[in-house]
């Protein structure tokens, strides 16, 4: 994994313009701030996990990063406008006459504008994305006939098919089973090797530990930097109200909940 890229006082500026940089960014709805003073420097080819509980400001920050919400103060700079975005609350009209492949194909519309014909390259990108997510056999199925997990893979394929320089994914593994989650994590690594920057909002600690950087949110920035530093037992206790303990298991570590002093009764075992 690459070195953490979150801007810290005293560190020299990267030579190449980062994919995403925020400076003293305050985000919120209307005039109500949700998170203050977020400083992010995410180079191309690196991943950032935004970690926090529901209501911690993850989705608000994500929407601000992609330009759906204007910052209350501070700035967001993106290298290029090639963004793929998967929102968290993604409602689909139950009657929408649309097949899985049509959904993935939407990713290519921004490249072709209103009426320009989709190219062979577009069709290849769509086929490849569906193949990578393992949904090629669902291509002609109506979206409304798919299960929640299948739909989530369709939405992920749409994000991948954009071939964007920046991927911003809010709760991307929600509804996915274990094999699909593993496949998703492999795809993220492939996207990083392609040179994309990937921002993931999650409350899955194991998923966050696989990223290059992490930002722990709880209505404010609790900690930022390398995931293993940010997601320390103390920080997680502060942000989630739970205590986690790392247990060696085979070639990896399992994170085990050892105490739940607040209302959050998370007792899952997370693989790191």
């Amino acid at each position: 994994m690459a070195e953490p890229g979150l801007s810290e006082p005293g560190l020299s500026e990267p030579a190449v313009k980062p994919a995403i940089r925020t400076t003293q960014l305050t985000v919120g709805y209307g005039r109500r701030p949700v998170v203050h003073d977020v400083d992010i420097t995410l180079p191309a080819g690196q991943s950032l996990a935004l970690v926090g509980t529901n209501g911690s400001g993850k989705s608000t920050l994500v929407k601000t990063l992609v330009g759906l919400i204007q910052p209350l103060s501070g700035s967001v700079d993106r290298a290029g406008d090639s963004i793929a975005y998967l929102g968290q609350v993604h409602s689909v009209n139950g009657l929408l006459p649309i097949q899985a492949r049509d959904v993935v194909m939407m990713a290519r519309y921004p490249l072709r504008g209103l009426r320009a014909r989709l190219t062979t390259e577009d069709h290849h990108a769509v086929e490849a994305a569906m193949h990578r997510l393992g949904i090629s056999d669902l291509a002609r199925r109506p979206l409304r006939s798919l299960s929640g997990g299948q739909r989530q893979r369709v939405f992920l394929a749409q994000a991948v098919a954009r071939e964007a320089s920046i991927l911003v994914l809010d709760e991307p593994t929600a509804g996915l089973d274990a094999p699909s989650t593993e496949r998703y994590l492999e795809i993220v690594q492939e996207e990083l090797r392609r040179g994309a920057a990937v921002v993931t909002a999650t409350h899955d600690i194991a998923e966050a530990l696989r990223c290059d950087q992490a930002l722990l949110l709880a209505g404010r920035v609790v900690a930022s930097g390398a995931p293993h530093d940010v997601l320390s037992a103390e920080s997680l206790l502060e942000a989630f109200g739970i205590a986690l303990h790392s247990v060696p298991h085979g070639g990896h570590h399992d994170l085990v909940v050892t105490a739940a002093p607040h209302a959050h009764n998370h007792d899952h075992h997370h693989r790191s």
Binding site: T53, G55, V62, S91, N93, P97, M106, R115, R144
Partner: protein, 291 residues
């Protein structure tokens, strides 16, 4: 066979009505497809009836009613946007308030007319049996405009129905795209109400498109199904009106709505997927709320 064809072959006015009705059906099928997909049924209803005070004002002022209808539709769209943008009220509350306010204002204005009942009935149900050549030209122009807008903006319209955020991410403004969609619906209403009345316009916006949504798995197919059922409704309604001496416009709407329910019930019996995802329902991603 002559029972099916003779009424139109022997009566030029009825043939003109059939052509006008088909033009209305095609325009409404295209605009109605997006009304159904975007969940704008209530706003479509409000637009259809919100033109009433504009038409009434035009009647009182002696100007073409189409100008009054356009003004009424514009007030409705601007009003809904202004209320939802500047208050905590949801869109349907804003639409409902404007709907009832505009309708009542229209009735109050028409009540000043000496031919109150005739005016209201004419506006609500139109005069499909009294269509002129000028009406046909006007309706054909409306169809061409609506078809062109839908063809050019099919991608952002589809994305808007799918997920408005995707429209913004793609670089098109979801607010502007939705406004354009509303204007397209308003053009359909304004250009059609003289021929078939506001009630029939609303019926033709919803019923054929709703039937198309039950059957189609792709957008072009939905428009095609809607157009087919819209045209069949016009033909069947006029034929029934001729043979059984029924109100022509209302017969067309009854046909369109009957077809919708026949398809709905047939699918329910067969256990098709579309019926298990009822109109207006939304399939939620399995997220955990805003983080």
């Amino acid at each position: 066979m002559s029972w099916l064809v003779a009424p139109f072959a022997d009566n030029p006015f009825l043939l003109r009505s059939l052509v006008a009705g088909i033009l209305v059906a095609l325009a409404c099928s295209i605009a109605g497809t997006f009304v159904v997909l975007r969940g704008l049924a209530f706003l479509g209803d409000a637009l259809a009836h919100g033109v009433l005070p504009g038409v009434a004002a035009a009647l009182l002022l002696g100007v073409p009613s189409i100008l009054g209808a356009a003004a009424g539709a514009a007030v409705m769209i601007v009003g809904v946007k202004a209320i939802t943008a500047n208050s905590r009220l949801s869109g349907d509350t804003a639409v409902g308030l404007l709907f009832v306010g505009m309708l009542a204002t229209g009735v109050v204005m028409v009540s000043r007319s000496d031919t109150f009942t005739g005016d209201v009935v004419g506006i609500l149900f139109g005069e499909i049996l009294g269509v002129s050549r000028a009406d046909l030209v006007q309706q054909a122009i409306a169809l061409a405009v609506i078809a062109a807008v839908a063809w050019i903006f099919a991608r952002p319209f589809m994305m808007l129905a799918f997920d408005p955020e995707q429209v913004d991410i793609a670089g098109w403004s979801s607010k502007r795209v939705e406004l354009l969609m509303l204007v397209m619906v308003a053009v359909c209403v304004v250009m059609s109400f003289q021929t078939v009345g506001t009630l029939l316009v609303f019926g033709m916006l919803l019923a054929p498109a709703g039937t198309g949504a039950l059957l189609a798995t792709r957008l072009p197919a939905m428009v095609a199904w809607a157009s087919l059922f819209g045209v069949l409704s016009v033909y069947g309604g006029l034929l029934a009106s001729y043979h059984f001496d029924l109100a022509a416009g209302a017969s067309v709407v009854v046909c369109a709505v009957t077809i919708f329910f026949v398809v709905l019930v047939t699918q329910a019996i067969r256990g098709d997927q579309a019926v298990r995802s009822p109109v207006g329902s939304r399939l939620q991603r399995t997220g955990n709320g805003h983080g």
